[in-house]
Assembly symmetry: D2
Homo-oligomer: 255 residues x 4
C-alpha cells in the first residue's frame, strides 16, 4: 500500500518540503531541489521577478513541483492576505504559506494574525499552510479556520538548532486532525528523521540544505532521512527500557 500525504486535494509521495532561499546561485538551487525529490517548494513572492522572465527564480524549479508561495515580509494578517492574492493573481497557484512576522531577531510568527489570515484565505479557496509558534490552542484554531496543514517551528528560522519545541510539537501531532509539518530550525537529517518518527506528516527544510558545504548532497541526505523517519513511524518503534535487554543469549555455554 502506498503511503501518501493528502493536502489540498493533492497526493504527495515525498514528505520533504524545501525552500529557495540562501543558495549560492539559481543553478545550485535547481540541482539541490531536484535531488531532494521534494514535491512542494516554498518561494517568497518578493523573489519572483514578474518582469525579467529570464532570470526568474521560478524558471529554475522542476516542472512538476507544487509552488508554495510564502508571505515573507508580511507583518499583519492584512499584508499576508494581500501577498497571497497577488501571488495567485500572478499565476502562482492557490497554495500559500502564511508567514506573519514582526520580530526581526528570532523571526517568530504572530499566531493571532496568522489565524485571521488563514480564515480569510481559506474561504477564498486557498490551500493555506500557516507557519506558527507551536501552541495547541492556536493550532486547533488554525484547523478550525480551514488550514490544510499546520506548520509549527522546531526552533528559530535558519538557526539549525533542531526540534527544541519537541514537547509541544508532539502534543500538536497527537491532538490535531490536519497534517503537522515541522518547519524552521531543522538543522540535520537526524532532526528531520526524529520529526517523522514523532508522527509529523512532513518537514520543510531550507537553510540546512542551502547552507551546507555541499547543498546538493545534503538535499539527498534529507530525502533519505525523511523516508527513514516515516518508515520507522509506520513500522512501529520498539519499547524503550531503563535497563538492558540482551540481544544475544547470555548463558555462558562454555561453563
Amino acid at each position: 500500500m502506498k503511503d501518501t500525504l493528502h493536502i489540498g486535494g493533492i497526493e504527495l509521495e515525498n514528505r520533504l518540503f524545501t525552500g529557495t532561499g540562501k543558495f549560492a546561485d539559481h543553478n545550485q538551487m535547481k540541482e539541490a531541489i531536484e535531488k531532494s525529490n521534494s514535491q512542494v517548494v516554498t518561494v517568497a513572492l518578493r523573489r519572483v521577478d514578474l518582469e525579467a522572465a529570464e532570470e526568474d527564480i521560478l524558471s529554475y524549479l522542476p516542472k512538476n513541483v507544487i509552488l508554495l508561495p510564502n508571505t515573507s515580509g508580511a507583518r499583519t494578517a492584512e499584508e499576508a492576505i494581500r501577498i497571497a492574492r497577488l501571488a495567485r493573481a500572478c499565476g502562482m497557484g492557490n497554495w500559500v504559506k502564511i508567514e506573519v512576522i514582526r520580530d526581526q531577531k528570532y523571526l517568530l510568527p504572530d499566531n493571532e494574525e496568522t489565524i485571521k489570515a488563514t480564515e480569510v484565505l481559506a474561504k477564498e479557496g486557498f490551500i493555506v499552510l500557516p507557519y506558527m509558534s507551536p501552541d495547541l490552542m492556536a493550532a486547533k484554531k488554525l484547523e478550525d479556520a480551514g488550514a490544510a496543514a499546520v506548520m509549527p517551528l522546531g526552533s528559530p528560522i535558519g538557526s539549525n538548532r533542531g526540534i527544541k519545541m519537541k514537547e509541544m510539537i508532539q502534543i500538536l501531532i497527537n491532538e490535531c486532525n490536519v497534517p503537522i509539518i515541522v518547519d524552521a530550525g531543522i538543522g540535520r537529517p537526524s532532526d528531520a528523521a526524529l520529526a517523522m518518527e514523532m508522527g509529523a506528516s512532513a518537514v520543510l527544510v531550507n537553510t540546512a540544505i542551502a547552507c551546507a558545504d555541499n547543498p546538493v548532497e545534503m538535499a539527498v541526505a534529507f530525502d533519505l532521512a525523511v523516508k527513514a523517519g516515516r518508515k520507522a513511524y509506520l513500522s512501529g518503534l520498539g519499547p524503550v527500557s531503563t535497563t538492558a535487554n540482551a540481544s544475544s543469549p547470555l548463558t555462558g555455554f562454555l561453563r
Copy 2:
C-alpha cells in the same frame, strides 16, 4: 569518489551492522538482514548449532555478509579468547566482536578485560572489534592493543534509549585513529543518523530492528538513516546560531 569503510582489509560500502538476536523466527531475521543491506552481521557463537546444520542460524544469513561472531556469555578476557578461537576453528572466519560482561542488569562491558582479550586476539591475527563503555583512555588502549575498530555503547544493550553517552562518543570520534562504531542503545533511525552525523564510521543495530512491529521495514529505515547521516557528515553541516537567519527576504516589498 566512493565512500567506503576499511576494516580488516575489507572495503565496506554499507555502514549499518546488524545482529541476529530477538527476531520472531529465522525467516524474519533473514529478510530483515537482506533488506538492511548490512554487510556485517554479528552472531553469538552460542546460537550456532554446530551439528544440526539444517536449522543452523548461519544458513539463514545472506551469502556475502561478513560474519562477526561475538563472545556473548564471556565474563573474563580468558573466556572471550576461548570463544573467539572456537569460532574461528568452526570456520566462522577471523572477525570477532569482543564482549566481556559480568553485569547482568545493564550488560555493561568490562573495559579492562576487553583490552586484554583484544591484545591477545589481535596478535593471533583476529580482526578484533571490541564492545566497550565509552572512555577515551580505554579506547586509546584498545587502539594500541590492535583493535580494528572500537565499539562504544550509546546506552545499555537493547534499551532503545539512544545515544546517551554522546559527549564521550564525540570525544572518541575526535581523538581515535581507528573507526568508531556506535553499538547498543540505538533505538530509532534518527539515533543512527545522529551517530553518523557526529562522525561515527558505522553503527550496529539489533534490538531496534528485531523488536519493531515490522522488523523488515524497520531494517530498511535504518539503512536509509545511516546513509542520510553519513551523507550529511560528508556534505558539511551548516552553522548553528542562537537567533534566526531569514531564509526568505524580509524587506516588505508591499510597503
Copy 3:
C-alpha cells in the same frame, strides 16, 4: 543591595510562588507554604468556601502572603473576567492569575482569550498575571495589554516534566520588559534553579511540592533552589567550553 522583585507596587523578597492544590490536607498545606517562605500563593476561587468560614482554605494561609486567586475553570476570557471580579468582590484583593483553559488533557491555555481577559482586567485595576503557552508574540501582547508579569508554562501543569519549553522561555526572558515567572511543569528543585539561572524573575511550584513524599521538606528544598538559581544569575555564570580547562596545575612537578 537588596535584590527584590517588584510586581503591582509590591516588593517581593522571595521568588518562589506556591499553590494550594493537591495537598493531603489543609494543615500540611499550611506548613509547606510557611516553610517555603513564599510570599505569593495562588488559590482557585472554587476552593474558597465563602460561607463555611471555619474550614475555608484561606484561613490556613500565612497572614502576610499575597493572595493570587486564579481563574481555574474558566474556558473563555469572559468567564475568567467574571471569576476575577467575583474574587475581588469577595475581598481577595486585586491580584489575579488568568487561566483560560479548554484543553482537558494537557491543560494548555488559550493565549488569545488570555490576552483579551488581561486587557479588560488590567484596565479595571487588577494586577494581572496571565498563565500562557510560551510564544514571544503573545507575551508581547500580554505586556501591551497591561500584564504585571507573564507566566509561561515549562511543560503541562502537574506533569513534573521540567522546563521542556526552555528555548522559547529564554527568548521571552531576553525580549520582554515585564517579569517572566515560569509556571507549570517544574518538577524538581534543579528545574527551578535552572529557570532562575536563565533569568526568570520567579517560579510558581505547586504539584512538585504537594505530591512529594514529604511536601514540607520539599517546600524548603524549592526555596533553597530558587535562591541558589537567582544568586547564580546575579553572580555571573562562567563560560562553557567544549574541551577541558585544568583547575589544578598540570605541570608534573615530580619529573
Copy 4:
C-alpha cells in the same frame, strides 16, 4: 535526624566539596571557600609551597576543613602514588584524590591506572577518592580496591558543560556501595542540584565557582543548591507524567 555523609571515619554535614584552582587571588579563594560552607577542599600538591610558609595556599584555607590533596600532574599510577605519599609526609593528612591524566585536551582520567593507585594507597591507610571516567565496571573495581568514594566526571574538567554523563552516573549511583561524588563539569547550581536529586552523595565544584564574575556569591549559590538537591532526594520527588494533572479544580463552578 541528621543527614550526614560518612567518609573515612569522618561525618560530613556539608556535601559540597570545593577546589582551590583558578581564583583571582588567595583572599578571594579563602572567602569563597568559607562562604561555601565546604568541609572538604582539594588542593594540588604542586601549589603547596613547602618552604615559603607565608604565601602558602594552605594558610588561606579555613582551619576546620579536611584537606584533600590531589595528584594532579600524575600520568601513571606510580606517579600518583608518589605524590600521595609525599603529601602525607608533608603533613597534609591521609585523604587523597587520585587523578591520573595523560590526555591534555579533555583531561580525561585513566581508569585502569587509577584502580592500581587506589589499591596500593588504600592498603597504606589512605582515604582514597579516585577521579574517574564514569563506567560501572571500573567503579566496582575501585570499590573493591578500597576506594572510600568514587568520583565520576560529569563532563570534562573546567568545561562547565554540566552532567553530560548522566546516564552512566545514575547507574553508578544505583549499583555502587560507596558514595558517588560527582566531580568535574558541574557548571551551574542547577547541575549540582540535579546530581544530588539523582542520589549522588556529594559534588565537587571548582571552576564554576572560581570563574564566576562573583566567586564568593557563587559559592553561596552552590551551597544552597546542593542542600536543595539533597533535601529533594530525601523528600521523595513526585511522579512524572506525559499529560497534565490539574493543581486546581477544573469543574467550572460558574456554569
